[in-house]
């Protein structure tokens, strides 16, 4: 078998050195009844050609975003990723290395993590960032846990316009503790006021920016109210490209900013692996979850990088750790770092402007269609339409016309039905004029 270098001769010689009669003998500590006497009931080994055929056949059953005109967002965005990103992350030295616990031979990984942390801090307008979390939703839940640790309080206020699957993840974890969770109802029109709910028992307020319906809002009033009450403002960003065009949460007073980094460098991947961003005020650094890379010097005085503050982490602190996260999204953070290095200031701001312009063009096309009301007035690259009917079958009909026309409200909020007529639509630099026209024409036809 192609992956197994030992030959029958090797195995025989090695057993002789060990002094064991057989490999089975090495398994002698396993209760005999539990040792299988034949292979499990699964296919036997197969060559590349056969494996590729089988799995490619599954892939071919999917209608991927590039094959249709895609306007899907709601937490995952299709952007063009330069070819060099995927080339570089596949270099053996990055792809097949372990967590950089031996810094002398892991400076490659460590230096990009330091660059990544800096990039995330700059983008979010925060002082420090960690070396990644699993994804935006788990980063959001970790932020809530951190706010609980920092404040010692148990009231958690979630905006109704936080991505509902993020809210579910927060809720699921919050149930582990004595928590007073306040989850607002969704406000598709963008008229939610969070300030009144904030009180002295509040650990944190969690707001998405832009929110799940695409609205952008000034976070400063919420930040001021939270901080006046001794609570933290957590801002979740699901479309990080927006930070190339919008005032960063840090500049409006956020205490913790979490985000989904998938838009930059990572790709859609049917939901994972993705890249959790986590940034905070410097004063909270010892309460942060996840790995941190720091600068230091080596024995010859040369600048180098190490994982640091590991006394927060599970492998040192065990049950006293700030989270249980161990493996994170290393390679995705590399993809992010490379893509963002390619973009740079000029590229990211142009990319953001282009996304916004595409979305504006699309909104202007769609809002004129009979049966369509545009709910989102201030937005980045995503907005919400109210249709004159249930959106889910409309989306299915649009697929027939070659358009992935957005995420229906009922997909996001399946257990409530007041969102069923909503359609959340995103546009990015990958959408052409022709695609926008195709969408508008198809939607007009479907709603006619």
């Amino acid at each position: 078998m192609r992956y197994l270098p030992l030959t029958p001769n090797d195995r025989r010689d090695m057993l002789a050195v060990i002094g064991a009669p057989s490999v089975d003998d090495l398994f002698r500590d396993v209760p005999a009844a539990a040792v299988l006497d034949r292979p499990v009931d699964l296919a036997l080994h197969a060559g590349e050609l056969e494996v590729e055929r089988t799995i490619a056949a599954m892939a071919a059953k999917n209608r991927h975003s590039g094959a249709l005109a895609s306007f899907l967002g709601a937490g995952a965005y299709r952007h063009h990723i330069p070819a060099s990103v995927d080339h570089l992350i596949q270099r053996s030295e990055f792809l097949t290395s372990y967590t950089p616990y031996q810094p002398e031979i892991a400076q490659g990984t460590l230096q990009y993590l330091f660059e990544f942390q800096t990039q995330v801090a700059l983008l979010t307008g925060m002082e420090v960032a960690n070396a990644s979390m699993y994804d935006g939703s788990t980063a959001c839940a970790e932020a809530v846990e951190m706010a609980r640790r920092v404040t010692g309080r148990k009231r958690i206020i979630l905006s109704g316009n936080l991505h509902p699957q993020y809210a579910e993840v927060v809720e699921t974890l919050a149930r582990l503790h004595d928590t007073d969770l306040v989850l607002n109802a969704p406000a598709p029109a963008g008229d939610e006021d969070l300030v009144p709910a904030i009180d002295k028992a509040t650990a944190c307020v969690v707001v998405q920016y832009p929110d799940v319906f695409g609205h952008v809002r000034d976070l400063a009033p919420i930040a001021q109210a939270a901080q006046a009450a001794g609570a933290l403002l957590i801002v979740a960003v699901t479309e990080v490209v927006a930070l190339g065009a919008l005032i960063p949460p840090g500049a409006m007073g956020a205490d913790i900013v979490v985000g989904e980094g998938q838009s930059i460098g990572v790709g859609l991947n049917y939901g994972g692996p993705y890249l959790g961003l986590f940034a905070a005020r410097a004063k909270f650094v010892r309460q942060m979850p996840g790995r941190l890379c720091g600068e230091t010097l080596d024995a010859e005085g040369k600048r180098g990088y190490v994982l640091t503050l590991s006394t927060r982490e599970q492998h040192i602190r065990r049950e006293k750790a700030t989270s249980n996260i161990c493996t994170n999204s290393g390679l995705c953070s590399l993809a992010f770092t490379i893509h963002l290095s390619l973009l740079g200031e000029a590229g990211l701001t142009r990319l953001a402007a282009l996304n916004h312009a595409r979305a504006v063009q699309l909104a202007e096309k769609l809002e004129g269609i009979k049966g369509v009301t545009l709910l989102t007035q201030g937005f980045f690259n995503e907005f919400t339409l109210k249709l004159d009917r249930d959106a889910a079958p409309v989306v299915e009909a649009l697929v027939e016309a070659g358009v992935l026309g957005g995420v229906p409200g009922g997909r996001l909020f399946p257990l409530r039905h007041d969102c069923d007529d909503l359609l959340v639509v995103a546009a990015t630099e990958t959408n052409t004029d022709e695609e926008i026209d195709r969408f508008a024409a198809a939607l007009t036809k479907v709603l006619a």
Binding site: S97, T172, G294, A357, V399, L404
Partner: protein, 493 residues
């Protein structure tokens, strides 16, 4: 050449991407357009490519040589898996696309789930956990939910964890709101069954046990442990980090396990990537299955369905919730399934056999120059302690760093905690005998050098690495966690 940070190479106005000018539109940013600069550096594509190529060359990797990290299972990462994960049908698939357009993706997840269940002999699997630790959390949350459903949520607060456990185990139990109670080890490196039984009671929620354990040994009393745990109404969580040693040969379901996470990035070789991404599906017993997190894969009518929310058929009604947005680590699923199908039932069992054989070969070959704390064969990792370094002035750390100068990554050291100066070596099934022999020869030479008093060679090591030993204390004392423009940094002083 010393490679500076990207921030030190930037120039305003330069970029590594060409984007068209945005069409002129009326801005609708709600008055929140960014005002100042972000502060990102401007680099061209050639600079970026060279920067990261140069950085990469400062790393060690499994593609460069043996990576004897015990418990981490650094094995060969086939490129076929990378290729398949990048098929547009998977890589360019949106998680919120209509399910009618993602049937192949659901089929793949379902097929992988079938393989995992069959290999473990367990009836259910929760696919969405993002890594091993996340899987542990998933398992404990299912256990907690089961106890709650039985009305015992408030009383069952204690989780038993052996002293030798991975750090994630106590961290997870604590994160999940449990109290951690350590179980001591026996002289022969296994859980002390008597001590364990003495700790049992109606307040115990679960035991978290790694098997093969972190000493590289199989817990002989595993079935007695499971029985004892079950006898007080608690559940048996098995840390699956070491599943590589037994896959295809022993099914955890036959050992009495109630929940076990599987590190796809270990046993099934999705690349570690310098620290992730991983993937940690959790197989569950029938007792725990109803509490698994959503989304679920359901086999029905010969096909697979994705259940994202509790439905009218009752799927997910008792689910403890959702652990992550979307459907988990699809990209890792593709890689893991390709790996499994390539090996097949026969190849996976052979891989486990070869991994165990290789570890025992190292244990036997180094037994006369290094010291092993326990008798008998090991499973897929060989554990040594630092007795052979006694009075040499060389520490486990020094010894490990000297391996770097010989062209190797150090082994796992100072873990498990129950062994003094532990050195845990996991060669995996990916190494040829020639490679193992070369490694053994180097380790022998190093052990002999340490005994011969060549302390400098160890104390100063590594000498031939991109960096000498780094000052970790200084890094932690006054953390510098990001680059700051020199002017700003200076003003801040």
């Amino acid at each position: 050449h010393e490679e500076g940070l990207i921030f030190e190479q930037g120039q305003a106005g330069r970029t590594g991407v060409d984007l068209p000018l945005p069409p002129a539109v009326r801005s609708r940013l709600g008055g929140l357009a960014r005002k100042g600069e972000i502060g990102l550096p401007g680099l061209s594509e050639p600079q970026v490519v060279r920067h990261f190529v140069r950085l990469s060359r400062r790393n060690y990797a499994i593609d460069m040589g043996l990576y004897p990290l015990g418990s981490c299972t650094m094995k060969h990462n086939p490129r076929l898996n990378e290729k398949l994960a990048r098929l547009p049908g998977f890589g360019d698939l949106h998680p919120m696309a209509p399910l009618s357009t993602t049937q192949g993706a659901v089929e793949l997840i379902g097929t992988l789930a079938h393989w995992l269940k069959t290999l473990t002999g367990m009836p259910a699997v929760a696919m969405s956990p993002k890594a091993g630790a996340h899987g542990e959390l998933c398992g404990l949350m299912a256990i907690r939910a089961a106890h709650e459903a039985a009305g015992e949520g408030a009383t069952r607060k204690r989780v038993l964890v052996p002293e030798s456990a991975h750090g994630t185990n106590p961290a997870t139990a604590a994160y999940c709101g449990f109290n951690v109670d350590a179980i001591p080890a026996t002289e022969d490196g296994r859980v002390d069954l008597g001590a364990l039984k003495a700790k049992l009671g109606p307040d115990v929620a679960a035991i978290m046990l790694t098997n093969p354990n972190t000493c590289g040994l199989f817990e002989r009393d595993i079935r007695e442990i499971a029985e004892a745990i079950h006898s007080v109404g608690a559940y048996f969580y098995c840390d699956g980090a070491n599943f590589n040693a037994i896959v295809g040969r022993v099914r955890p379901g036959d050992l009495g396990v109630d929940a076990m996470h599987i590190n796809l990035h270990k046993t099934f070789s999705t690349p570690h990537g310098g620290g992730g991404p991983g993937s940690g599906p959790v197989v569950l017993s029938a007792a725990l299955a109803p509490f698994a997190p959503l989304p679920w894969i359901v086999e029905r009518d010969g096909g697979f369905e994705l259940v994202e929310e509790p439905n009218e058929r009752g799927d997910g009604a008792q689910s403890f919730g959702r652990m992550t947005a979307f459907h988990g680590q699809m990209g890792m699923y593709v890689r893991a399934l390709a790996y499994m199908m390539s090996h097949g039932a026969d190849g996976l069992a052979q891989a486990a056999a070869d991994a165990v054989l290789a570890a025992n070969y190292i244990l036997a070959s180094l037994g006369d120059v290094m010291t092993a704390p326990f008798e008998g064969p090991c499973m897929h990792e060989a554990l040594f302690d630092d007795r052979f370094l006694k009075d040499t002035g060389v520490t486990t750390l020094d010894f490990a760093k000297a391996m770097i100068d010989e062209g190797y990554h150090p082994m796992t050291m100072y873990f498990p905690l129950v062994v003094h100066g532990a050195m845990l070596i996991e060669p995996t099934e990916s190494e040829s005998k020639e490679s193992l022999d070369e490694f053994i020869a180097v380790m022998r030479r190093l052990a002999q050098a340490a005994k011969a008093g060549e302390v400098d060679r160890f104390a100063g090591a590594p000498f031939y690495a991109p960096r000498r030993r780094l000052d970790e204390t200084a890094a932690a004392r006054k953390p510098v966690l990001r680059w700051t423009p020199p002017a700003v940094a200076k003003a801040a002083e």
